[in-house]
Amino acid sequence: MSTVTMSETGAAEEGHAPASPVLPSKGPTRRSWRTLAAIARYYPVFLIFVVWEALSRLNVLDPMFMPPLENVARTFYNEVFVTHELLDHIRMSFMRAGAGLALASVVGVSAGILMGRVRAFESFLDPVISALFPMPKLAVFPLLMVFLGIGDASKIALIFMGCFFPIVINTYTGVRNVDKFFVWNALTKGASQRQLVWHVIIPAALPFVFAGLRVATSTAFLLIVASELIAANDGLGYLIMFAERSFDPALMWCGILVIAGMGFTVDRLLLTLGARLFVWQDK
């Protein structure tokens, strides 16, 4: 049927052989080595821990501010495996931050797409966003507590407000930056407006959306701790505040390090997810 074949002449025409996209998978030893190397990259962090422990032992550090790392680790063990209290605090903080972030993602991405595609939405939302974006969201927290109480609702609302802006702005920028020729190509291939959004606009804008999501995640961590420091009965922010009031620096450091670890882990997960999602991108 296909008498005309471009392959023979075509192969000579291309200057370079394209690189194979699939890496050959070597045995498990290769993988564990790579994991070790990845951990070793963070040696400065471990170094700081070692210096901390050493200085504590030498009585250079005031134990009321910086207890030995060993005490912090002991407290951590106790809180996780004996009383399980820390796990509850982590769960509460994660739930609030997750709810606010999820809400902000859904609303932010939808609003961003609408702004990028519908002139009326753009002219309405653009000035609103420009005016509200630079405002520190924490300033509204007392007001939110008046309306929504000091429970979960006001905290989730605060996190929503903080996360909404980076997501909506990035999505909007991504949608506006979609190459006109991609859109034209899709339209001449029979795509409806709806198909255009799903199959062209969203995938093309996704790297932008993802960048916004990363910023929003760090904002969510910031606001959850801040709001729990101000008023809460549980959560990691509350734990740190509680530890401060009960003169328990080891517990305080435990809370601080757990939050740092959580932020780091979530960011790494997002980066890994991004690398998977955007294999098609030119680096």
Binding site: M1, S2, T3, V4, T5, M6, S7, E8, T9, G10, A11, A12, E13, E14, G15, H16, P18, A19, P21, D179, F181, F182, W184, N185, A186, L187, T188, K189, G190, A191, S192, Q195, H199, V200, P203, A204, L206, V279, W280, Q281, D282
Partner: protein, 265 residues
């Protein structure tokens, strides 16, 4: 000459198309001025002219992507209203979707039209075979060369089964070697199916090699300056070496030399 084509029905009829753009300072710019153009069914028509003559604009109007300020485009006896998969388009800079693999790119049009997966698969295999890229089905465009990307764009268009192919400088961004190879391959493809083609290019050689007719345009405002029949024998093998090729080439060059000089400044 071309009596067969003269009697066959008109496929594309561009009727007194004018296009005005509002430029930055509010002054109107007349990009196209009452352009008339006809293509018979199965005819290969090239549009050449110096940059700024509105040849790409004209093509986008025929594709239904731009609304002409005046005039109408009639395809198959009906005035067009927006883009349709029946009028396929290949653009200069690779407009294939980087987030789709090669086969997903070729399958795009059929997928949008709701073709079942099984059928789609067969169709994609057929067209990938045709452009000689079956081996690269699961690759992403970033892993391919410019020439390969343009072949994917052609396969993507053909998979929609268009009766009219609109090509906007499809080989314009390629190096001259790739360009000649793709020109020959396009000729072979066209001689097999004989679809109607409107081909925009600024390469006179390319226009003479491929076309039945060449529409020569002049810039500011874009107007049809001359229409040249190309009566070189088909299939066009070793056509570049024919004395007739050079004669036609010179004739078109002299027609737009003045404007080209002015366009460059």
């Amino acid at each position: 000459m071309n009596t067969v084509q003269k009697t066959s029905p008109v496929h594309v009829d561009v009727r007194r198309i004018s296009q005005r753009f509002r430029s930055g300072r509010g002054a109107d710019l007349l990009a196209l001025d009452r352009v008339d153009l006809q293509a018979q069914r199965g005819e290969f028509v090239s549009i050449v002219g110096p940059s700024g003559c509105g040849k790409s604009t004209l093509l986008y109007i025929v594709a239904g992507l731009l609304q002409a300020s005046e005039g109408e485009v009639v395809v198959d006896g009906r005035p067009i209203d927006g883009p349709a998969p029946d009028r396929g388009l290949v653009l200069q800079n690779s407009s294939i979707f980087p987030w789709r693999t090669v086969e997903q790119n070729v399958a795009f049009g059929p997928e949008m039209c709701g073709m079942p997966q099984q059928e789609r698969r067969k169709l994609v295999d057929h067209y990938l075979d045709m452009v000689g890229l079956a081996k690269f089905a699961s690759f992403y465009p970033r892993e391919l060369s410019g020439g390969m990307k343009q072949r994917i764009a052609i396969a993507q268009m053909l998979a929609c089964g268009p009766s009219l192919c609109l090509m906007d400088e499809p080989f314009g961004a390629l190096d001259s070697l790739s360009r000649e190879v793709l020109q020959d391959q396009l000729l072979q493809l066209w001689e097999r199916d004989r679809k109607t083609v409107l081909f925009v290019t600024h390469s006179i050689d390319e226009a003479v090699l491929l076309s039945d007719r060449i529409v020569v345009m002049s810039p500011l405002p874009g107007r049809v300056k001359e229409i040249v029949d190309v009566d070189l024998p088909r299939p066009r093998q070793n056509t570049r070496a024919l004395p007739e090729f050079g004669r036609l080439r010179n004739r078109i060059w002299s027609a737009i030399r003045q404007e080209s000089m002015e366009a460059i400044g």
